[in-house]
Symmetry: C2
Subunit: 428 residues, 2 copies
Amino acid sequence: MPTLDQQTIDRITKRGVAQIIPEDEFIRRLQEGRPLRLKMGFDPSRPDLHLGHVVGLRKLRQLQDLGHELILIVGDWTAQIGDPSGASETRTMLSAEDVRENAETYMRQFFKVMDPNRTRAVYQSEWFGKFTLSDVIRLTSHFTVNQFLHRDDFAQRYAGQRPIAVTEMLYPLLQAYDSVAIEADVEFGGTDQLFNLLVGRELQEKVGQRPQLVFTMPILPGTDGVRKMSKSLDNYIAIEDTPRDMFGKIMSLPDDLIPVYFELLTDVPDDELDAIRAAMGPTSPSANPASSVIPAKAGISSLNPMDLKKRLGEELTAVFHSPGAATAAREEFERVFQRRETPEDIPEVAVGPTSPAVVSRDADGFDADLSHLLPALNLAASRSEARRLLQQNAVQIDGERPDGERVRVPYGALVRVGSRRFARVVRG
Amino acid sequence: MPTLDQQTIDRITKRGVAQIIPEDEFIRRLQEGRPLRLKMGFDPSRPDLHLGHVVGLRKLRQLQDLGHELILIVGDWTAQIGDPSGASETRTMLSAEDVRENAETYMRQFFKVMDPNRTRAVYQSEWFGKFTLSDVIRLTSHFTVNQFLHRDDFAQRYAGQRPIAVTEMLYPLLQAYDSVAIEADVEFGGTDQLFNLLVGRELQEKVGQRPQLVFTMPILPGTDGVRKMSKSLDNYIAIEDTPRDMFGKIMSLPDDLIPVYFELLTDVPDDELDAIRAAMGPTSPSANPASSVIPAKAGISSLNPMDLKKRLGEELTAVFHSPGAATAAREEFERVFQRRETPEDIPEVAVGPTSPAVVSRDADGFDADLSHLLPALNLAASRSEARRLLQQNAVQIDGERPDGERVRVPYGALVRVGSRRFARVVRG
């Protein structure tokens, strides 16, 4: 394994890190140069990865590249319970079939970031499939209800008299036992996992193993800029989003997320990161243009938020798709949303003679009733919404704004609502 | 099964009962005349029965005599955890050997009260031996930590920041599962078991069984008159105590326990019980002699506390030993403690020529050094205690109090210290 210079150690232990417990021992063990067994869990009831997950995977990948091994725990048992840090419902068991399919889905996404040659996936079934009541009694005897009820989410729920199933006390214990089963050296998780990771450390110590180190990473805010990125909050960027969606969602981020996304999701050098932070910082970049405050640096073409987001979007899209797809996504974005051109893949909708939108027609086009046409093109939900859009002057046909519901529409016309919704009318 | 008259129903549901949940359903099911499956648990780490246990056994025996079947649960699994209502330590597993031996000890005592033909003993191992983690998860999912922490003892410990092992949450659940495993109709326990019994009722309902009825019995106060009778508090009367000890402990009871012992441990008729209660009641019997307050009834020879305790002692000793042993125990008690006579089985201690107690001797006796003799007879712990006893004038030799350490002691002499400790000196 390579010897580590201070720069590498800093990159691993300072950037994109919430807490390392204990940090000095972690650095010492990195420097020892023996492969560490890195543990990360995966919930097979949630196989889709988003950028929130990528934060941790990037950190693990750095360590894989230094020769350490990742043990990925497929949580087919904990998935039954559901992490009480999230929803509070006890879930039903996934079938073995579901677990295998979901694990495949997960791996396909996972290996876009991770090194398969330094990854070993193990199923909890290996040990929990043969767990007896004696094992459960032994495991539960090491921990107290008091200590568990001090965990933030439990404490809040208990204080609020919201139910906590006895089963939920088992969740941290099973996760902790995973560490014993694989003799983990370091366990990784978001800051919301800190309690569970420490339970693993404590259990290993109690059963006579060397206690695992605990490595937590910051939680990535979702596209709403407020809450944790999460599929259930619908504020996520999936790593299987299309290039256009991925790029577009990044362009729609609140500006103040730009530095944290650069920090946690890219390898942009620290000095550039500092410049980005300063530009997006408490001084609003629109009030004081960044270029006048921050000196231009080599490699930083612009500190304008729009340009930074394009760069971020293109960089991430390139990782999860390809540089070509990323460039195309950027170019299409610029065409549609910036130069107000039309996107390339506008849906073509055939309008036939019996459509209520067609008042009368000839070879080149038809007299249209727009209150019917907009819903038929999927540009309005109803006739009343169509009328509202017309009153708001939000509708264009080939660039012209109609002044009533009845207008001539030539076949091939581009109908546009607002700045982002389009359809092309073809003869049906 | 016999039809039940109101008197029988009252005897079962009113006397020696704390709570029946729900009482009307219990009476209805008794009257249906189908054998009920009565459940009671036994902790094989505590095989010795005392009168506190007998309270419940007597109630169960009444029901056996009506044709109902007792299922005795040998708690070889719950014994590992220990009922958190008692000590808070998680215990170590008993070996299968220990469990079997303790179960034998228990049964030997148990069948002094119970009918073996209507008793079936089952080990929890039958179901918990093959319990999987899935079973544990399913079981724990039915109950909440919140509800368990409302149980009195947990609530107190939690409020007092005293540790509650996660394992202890399993105790009521395993006990509840026993009810499911045997499809119990009624579970019995002391009032301190109410919570656990209700968990069983709730679990049966949740898994689709007819929920068991719950029958609690009052807790018998120990010989200190204050706390629950318990081996660990050393305030118990074991059912394997010798006739003399059993009788003697009952004679030493505080007077105000007399009515409750008669109520819970004997079949004394209700009207006599009322008379006893009135005699021992708030009006002190010594200040207002009972005979002047309570009219004499047929069968009640005396309401003097000493006489009542003798009757209680003789009756209970007769149950656990024999009427003859009971009478002998009473007669010996009267001889020793009341007429200040000597008991019949005084230890005989041989004193040989080389004993430091013997200053010089002849055929009939010896000149004794009492500071050596009393320890040699096990009547004092040391020479200094012996001297203290002599100074306190607490020593008699054949009824005479010696006026120094040096006295003549004939062989066959009875040496007595205080009112209760004796030894007979023989030539050695």
